[in-house]
């Protein structure tokens, strides 16, 4: 790089940290503008970084100039850049949405917390150091917990406390894994560890990897660790639910993937059938619960439990350069955009009807058609209909399963898609019913409707720009 000062990579971490703390400093009223401006710049930076990485290949930024293992490395390869792009792409429309959604007072707590959350995500996606990942993980958890609790309603505080305790226990397990790894190898750098661990890791490494995996799965809310998610995601304010479901749970999935591709590659094969089976169980159970719930946001939250299952289907099919990895990342991307759109839309629907149940939706189609269209588009992605990103993800997954002759996964993917169709149509059908005479609707700011629509549209359209996405993922994985 000619000019390191303009290197987008470190700025993706510095910028959100800066606007988050400034938003706290300025207090009421101005945090939102700072956030939207910062996020716009971040999106541009992420795009520049993506172009650079596609052109020049994966890149390492040695913090402090020391390099691993003494210092900490930041790594931008195809996978991390894809996740960074997703983060900024989801966050910017949601920021516009949140400015309209929250009162001034609520915004004074929301922006600092959201800023630190996004900084934690960016730092996590760029980190190439086990202990640094732990710190970013804690940053992420505390920000998420604060956001869940911010309304101060007892149910929310209770959900936040459960979430925090699960999260802390999970971090504890992860930290123990890091401690064992440091004891065994004397380094926590991913690049440094990969050659040291080798093909036949000793017992201590297996235990460490097991502890870390268990902790990360609990944070990802993979079945059967999903118990905390519906309450935390379903009850939070809509922009918060959207951030959590679209991005936060993906962060720990990303870490599992990163570790499975990196230092613990030798162990990934052993864990893969289990992860796949849990993923399948998550798809079926989550979809079923989404189908049977009566609350809009609970439906969307249970749908997250189900959609997370797809991500873990990639592990039994994982092979270098194979379709499964692309499928997983595409699923993360498509689901992130779609789920953000869906929660945003659900927020609009609830504001408009003043109720949080499916029954209350009757007649809403005529009032907020743009939002309902957004909800439907996001549903298209979740169901996996062409030409959406969700379709591409599922198609790649089926392709990988067929290639390897693992037919079982194909059934799960298609079954999950049918169940998703059922719960999405349940919402739409209700919305097109005639409104009862007693119903009265509230006006909803345009900005909220259109930002939800933008997210939903993006989740469908990325299916059309798949070539670029695949090219980005083709960039060699480090370390």
């Amino acid at each position: 790089m000619a000019d390191t000062f303009l290197d987008p990579l470190p700025w993706l971490i510095i910028l959100p940290l800066a606007w988050a703390s400034l938003a706290f400093l300025v207090g009421e009223g101005r945090g939102g503008r700072l956030a939207v401006a910062g996020l716009a710049v971040q999106l541009a930076l992420a795009l520049i970084l993506a172009v650079q990485v596609m052109a020049q290949g994966a890149r390492v930024h040695a913090v402090g100039g020391w390099g691993a293992s003494l210092g900490i490395d930041l790594l931008a390869d195809g996978l991390s850049v894809a996740m960074l792009l997703l983060t900024q792409a989801v966050a910017l429309p949601l920021a516009v949405y949140a400015r309209a959604y929250f009162s001034e007072v609520a915004q004074t707590t929301f922006w600092p917390l959201a800023g630190f959350l996004l900084a934690a995500l960016n730092a996590l996606f760029l980190s190439a150091d086990l202990f640094n990942l732990y710190v970013t993980l804690e940053l992420l958890s505390l920000a998420a917990v604060g956001l869940v609790a911010m309304s101060g309603k007892p149910a929310q505080v209770d959900a936040a406390l459960r979430y925090l305790l699960v999260s802390l226990t999970a971090s504890g397990a992860y930290l123990m894994g890091v401690a064992l790894i440091y004891g065994a190898y004397g380094t926590v750098s991913l690049a440094g560890l990969a050659p040291l661990v080798g093909a036949d890791p000793p017992l201590i490494t297996q235990l460490a990897a097991g502890l870390m995996l268990a902790g990360l799965l609990a944070k990802t809310a993979l079945f059967p660790f999903h118990f905390w998610l519906p309450a935390a995601h379903g009850g939070a304010p809509a922009p918060v639910s959207a951030l959590l479901s679209a991005l936060v749970v993906k962060a720990t999935f990303y870490m599992v993937l990163r570790l499975a591709l990196g230092p613990f590659a030798a162990l990934a094969d052993d864990a893969a059938p289990l992860l796949g089976a849990l993923g399948a169980a998550a798809i079926l159970w989550g979809s079923w619960r989404a189908l049977t719930t009566h609350h809009i946001k609970m439906l969307v939250a249970w749908s997250t439990v189900a959609q997370l299952g797809y991500l873990f289907l990639l592990f039994p099919l994982l092979e270098p350069g194979g379709a499964a990895l692309r499928a997983g990342v595409m699923q993360a991307f498509a689901h992130g955009l779609a789920k953000a759109a869906m929660f945003a839309a659900a927020g609009v629907l609830m504001l408009s009807t003043g109720r949080d149940t499916l029954e209350g939706l009757a007649g809403v189609a005529g009032r907020v058609p743009v939002t309902l269209f957004a909800f439907a588009l996001a549903g298209v992605t979740l169901m996996g209909l062409p030409p959406s990103g969700g379709f591409l993800a599922k198609w790649l997954l089926i392709e990988a399963a067929l290639e390897q002759g693992q037919w079982g996964w194909v059934v799960v993917v298609i079954g999950g898609g049918l169940l998703a169709a059922a719960y999405v149509f349940k919402v739409l059908r209700q919305a097109f019913l005639l409104a009862p005479a007693s119903a009265h609707f509230h006006r909803v700011p345009r900005a909220m409707e259109w930002s939800a629509f933008l997210l939903a549209a993006a989740s469908v359209l990325i299916g059309l720009r798949a070539t670029e996405g695949v090219a980005l993922l083709g960039v060699e994985f480090g370390p």
């Binding site: 202990f131 710190v135 804690e138 505390l142 917990v145 604060g146 609790a149 101060g152 007892p154 505080v157 209770d158 936040a160 406390l161 925090l164 305790l165 802390l168 226990t169 504890g172 397990a173 930290l175 123990m176 890091v178 401690a179 064992l180 440091y182 004891g183 065994a184 004397g186």
Partner: protein, 93 residues
């Protein structure tokens, strides 16, 4: 046995104790204590295992300092949430 190894083993026991506690106990305050024990166990393993040869290693020591601060922050937040619930009459300890 070097002190490092001894304390690492102690850390393992503390971690297991804390983990069982977090899962089994019902009172929030008790679970916060248990989580702190887990953390302390991991810290002891981090430093003790690294120094099992008797050589002082500043890197895990610095990590533990970071970890302690993170643990205090988490504990305070958890207590704040639990107290908010208690004030609203939804939780007991």
């Amino acid at each position: 046995m070097t002190p490092g190894l001894l304390y690492a083993l102690t850390g393992i026991a503390l971690f297991a104790l804390g983990l069982a506690g977090v899962i089994l106990l019902r009172q929030t305050l008790r679970r916060i204590l248990a989580f702190n024990l887990m953390g302390s166990g991991a810290f002891l393993v981090l430093v003790g295992l690294a120094q099992r040869g008797g050589v002082v290693d500043p890197v895990p020591q610095a990590m533990v300092l970071t970890g302690i601060v993170v643990a205090v922050a988490s504990t305070a937040l958890a207590l704040a949430l639990a107290r908010r619930l208690a004030e609203d009459g939804h939780e007991d300890g």
